[in-house]
Amino acid sequence: MSGARLHRAQPAPRSLSPLFAGRKLEGLPIIVVFIALIAVFTALAPHVFLRWPIYDSFLVTIPPLLIISLGLTLVIAAGEIDLSFPAIIQFSGFLFAFCSLQLGLPWLGLIAALAGGALVGFVNGILVAVVGVPSIIITIGTSFFWSGVATVLCGGLSYALPGLENTPIANIFAGKLLGVPAEAFWALGVAILGWFVLNRHRFGEHLLFIGDSRSVAEVLGINVRRERIKLFTLMGVITGFASFMLTVQNLNYFATQGQGTLLSALAGVFIGGSSVFGGSATMVGSVFGALIIGMLEAGIVATGVAGFWVEVIVGLVFIVAVVLHIAIESPASLDQLRRRLAVRGPRPDHATKEEIP
């Protein structure tokens, strides 16, 4: 069949924006936002942002959140969502604290935290992939359940873990290496691994195809059920690790640990540019998204703006970042907006009204 050439029906523009023509740098828009934000903070509060301590504190507080955002990126890539990770932070943290304090076995505690997360995630996976409940619904339910289980188990009490200070486990996961908090290295490691899993591993590709369309994935021979169970289990393990890290760096388990992380971790992923519709997700974007979310509050306070403004500014940054992603990925939608604005323009009746004194 020599003449079988399938020509293009119409040449569509391939390179979407002249600015980002050629090989696109993953997460570029959000990196720009990140740098701009640092610049603004530095200009407004040079005494804080030109010195190391603020970054040192960022590199301690951000990693647990960032690691969760990385796990969520995989979940979002598959077109799913997991709202139960705050409960895992509570549950896994308890398991670690209990093993450390009551049994004196912190390493067992680490394993228990990971296994506890895996258990929660596995149950989520079964309910989503086998029973068929949408993940946005079922993870609300499991979130209540496991958070409740953790509260019952710990009796609503916090566990102080001062005995862990300067133990190997605390030094490895929350100590310093070359003056940089160990948490930062762990987060970087998870990020690199996560990038390779999503972009270069068979499992990540399966998630992208499942997020694109479950029926296509099935036709292509992807075991959709098994991969989704694996996905939620992995998300549980990753969150278990983040929870362990949070507990060991605070040397304390709070009964309310994990509350307030839900929106921050999700915001990190979506600011980063991953699509809520699945099939497209960026690990680099999530790293910078989580960094931005993690440093906004401290940054805003340091610049002297009243703390009440923090959420207003977080909201603004979120909106700007998400619109920026659309502007770069589908400039057509912006053109449409521009045309619509041009049509509306200044209305004639406006002008006449203004003329009337």
Binding site: R8, D212, G279
Partner: protein, 266 residues
């Protein structure tokens, strides 16, 4: 595309044969007692109304849907239905060409050509360079996309219907399928592109392969198929050679199938 070189004569009679195959989705019986044999160089046209069970039948044959009962033989060998899967069907060199249902919209072509059977190392990491190279090779040699702005990194969502069809066909050719299943391959295509798909069906025949060809356009399928199988409400209503039944007679037969049967109504 490569010219229609005949394959060495294979040592089997039927590439696939179904015996009393049934598929049910819960209480709904989608297919009932399907007996169908497809010879190693047969082009079988599968026709029937929407919901007659055409897609379910090909999904059962390619391991997407698990039959509830019956037997399946591939190259005259019985298949364990409990273990049959898309992966197995791929390994047995069955390929499906769907227009809308077999390509990941947001994914680049180098992923689409290999999804479900990636070239990986033993840790499961994909050899992207190799997949890209082969994808470009398929695009250039089989499909003639050279210089038309489509390469291994193009995403499917930017392609036209005909281009998508070309991608799915190129994939089937690359994996050297013995049985190619085309599910309504000409729907929503430009006339020129329809011609290319029909050429492809002819190439399948000439190169000694087999095809199941689902088509709404009766003229196309009547002209190309060796045998026409009519499905109606999950059962085979007729299996004829085009020579035995003119296009008009076929059309009338299909219309008559839709009339409520007088005997039942009375």
């Amino acid at each position: 595309m490569t010219s229609g070189q005949a394959l060495p004569q294979p040592a089997y009679t039927n590439i696939v044969r179904a015996e009393k195959l049934c598929v049910s989705f819960g209480p709904v019986q989608a297919l009932t007692d399907i007996d169908l044999a497809i010879g190693r160089n047969d082009i079988v046209g599968l026709i029937g109304d929407n919901g007659a069970g055409k897609s379910t039948l090909i999904k059962a044959l390619t391991g997407v849907v698990r039959p509830s009962s019956g037997r399946l033989y591939i190259r005259d060998q019985p298949v364990d239905l409990g273990r049959y899967s898309v992966r197995k069907a791929h390994a047995l060199r069955f390929e499906t060409v769907y227009q809308e249902k077999s390509l990941g919209e947001k994914q680049p072509l180098w992923r689409n050509f290999f999804a479900g059977r990636q070239i990986v190392n033993r840790f499961g990491f994909i050899n992207v360079r190799e997949q890209r190279r082969i994808a470009n090779e398929i695009l250039q040699s089989h499909l003639g996309f050279r210089g038309v702005g489509i390469d291994a990194d193009s995403t499917v969502s930017n392609l036209s219907g005909g281009e998508r069809q070309g991608i799915a066909i190129g994939r089937a050719m690359h994996f050297d399928a013995d049985l190619i299943i085309l599910d309504e391959p000409t729907t929503a295509l430009a006339i020129k592109e329809v011609q290319k798909v029909l050429d492809f069906v002819r190439w399948i025949k000439e190169s000694g392969r087999a095809a199941i060809y689902i088509e709404h356009n009766l003229a196309h399928v009547h002209a190309l198929a060796d045998r026409l199988v009519v499905l109606d409400r999950g059962r085979i209503a007729a299996s004829v050679r085009p020579a035995e039944l003119s296009l008009d007679a076929l059309t009338r037969f299909l219309i008559d199938l839709q009339q409520p049967k007088a005997g039942i109504a009375a």
